[in-house]
Symmetry: C2
């Protein structure tokens, strides 16, 4: 039994994920946004590595039934219908829609994680459901890769904390578990913070969001178990 | 005052380091090997990103006075005079020599850190001296970047632990210190291990070295403050 955590998707290659169970974590904010949108009735999310790619992917599609969403430097991309705030993903706005999403860290991480089977999407807001789903996959495969989106190609505390919580939950009852160093460190980290609100109060991404008046997104993203959906990414679509 | 830790050199670019104080950490084993060689009288170390580069760099040089050293998968490279074991770097072998060194993680990290000013090399074996030197640079610049070599492009516990110890030492007496998330997490990690021997007993690199009968290198590398030299990397040479 083996769990590997990657603190950033840098250096990740599709072949090494082939046939392995993968969890992609991006608490602030892409994973939280994806989970919220699907919980509120969106049909699917298509992650794009860049905003240009999102625009290109939608170029020949019926505009009815689709929404462009995404951020650059935390703020909504000009011309896009939505930003990357989970609070925008209300049932009224997203129900029945396919959302093409381009973010700085989360959607490139998702695109890099293609090849996993399945690729699950996790954050605090679906944590309990994520643990159950990941436990089932892990029991079947004996192997799990947890990819943190990180922040601007670097380590992000909120994602590492969540990864650590997940590893800790999966460790229970597992014998002869092999962790890579990042998984060991992520578990160590969990003892330093009471909960997501505490961990997020120490992280750079939360500070940056507060600076652009998106502190409410941090509070939204820190509350565990709002939703029971565990989105799965396959064939370029998250459902 | 600002300290940034990078858990791997991936994504590091020379321009972002220009004029900033940098510490490169690679406990197992390149930094420990470099420190030991210089403490034992080597004239200089020239780090190479690959073994081919090391061979190329020495092609037109007098073979007298130089040594090729390095490893692949922990083991000495065929045709090289030395591996990457600090225990090989005895005064008899290295005194007065320039060593061209190619390793899997450490020397690529050093090459990636070029552009820092200064670039200091640290491990457990020179930790106390490293703290003093880094403190002086930090006081002057108000800014320090700590680059962990990591392991096969991923997080390495022993380097992160050392980075955390260094940040913790520099924090004392510093007000209004800004840490990036990796620096925060590295400091958190330090409380989980008693000392380097304990941290190294939990890390993958140490396990791998033990498997190829190089466990003595782990013990050597875990002992703090064997040496008082803090190697500096400039103009492609570490002295």
């Amino acid at each position: 039994m083996k769990i590997a955590v990657l603190f950033t998707p840098l250096g990740l290659s599709a072949p090494e994920l082939a046939g392995r169970g993968v969890v992609v974590i991006d608490v602030l904010r892409a994973a939280t946004t994806v989970i919220t949108a699907l919980a509120n009735g969106a049909k699917a999310i298509v992650p794009a590595a860049t905003s240009e790619e999102a625009v290109r992917l939608t170029a020949n599609l019926e505009k009815d039934g689709l929404l462009l969403a995404g951020e650059r430097k935390c703020l909504k991309i000009e011309g896009f219908a939505l930003g990357n705030s989970p609070r925008e993903m209300t049932p009224e706005v997203v129900s029945g829609k396919t959302i093409f999403l381009a973010t700085t860290n989360g959607t490139p991480a998702l695109v890099a994680a293609q090849g996993g089977d399945p690729v699950m999407v996790g954050g605090a807001v679906n944590f309990k459901a994520l643990v159950e789903r990941a436990r089932a996959v892990f029991a079947e495969r004996g192997d799990l890769v947890i990819v943190c989106a990180g922040r601007e190609r670097e380590f992000a505390l909120e994602d590492a904390y969540t990864a650590g919580r997940l590893v800790r939950a999966l460790k229970r009852g597992s014998r002869k578990l092999r962790l890579n160093d990042a998984a060991t460190a992520a578990v160590d980290l969990t003892t330093h913070y009471d909960d997501w609100a505490d961990a997020l109060s120490h992280c750079e991404a939360a500070r940056q969001l507060a600076e652009v008046d998106l502190g409410a997104d941090v509070a939204f993203s820190a509350k565990p178990d709002r939703f029971t959906v565990v989105p799965t990414y396959a064939d370029r679509r998250i459902t």
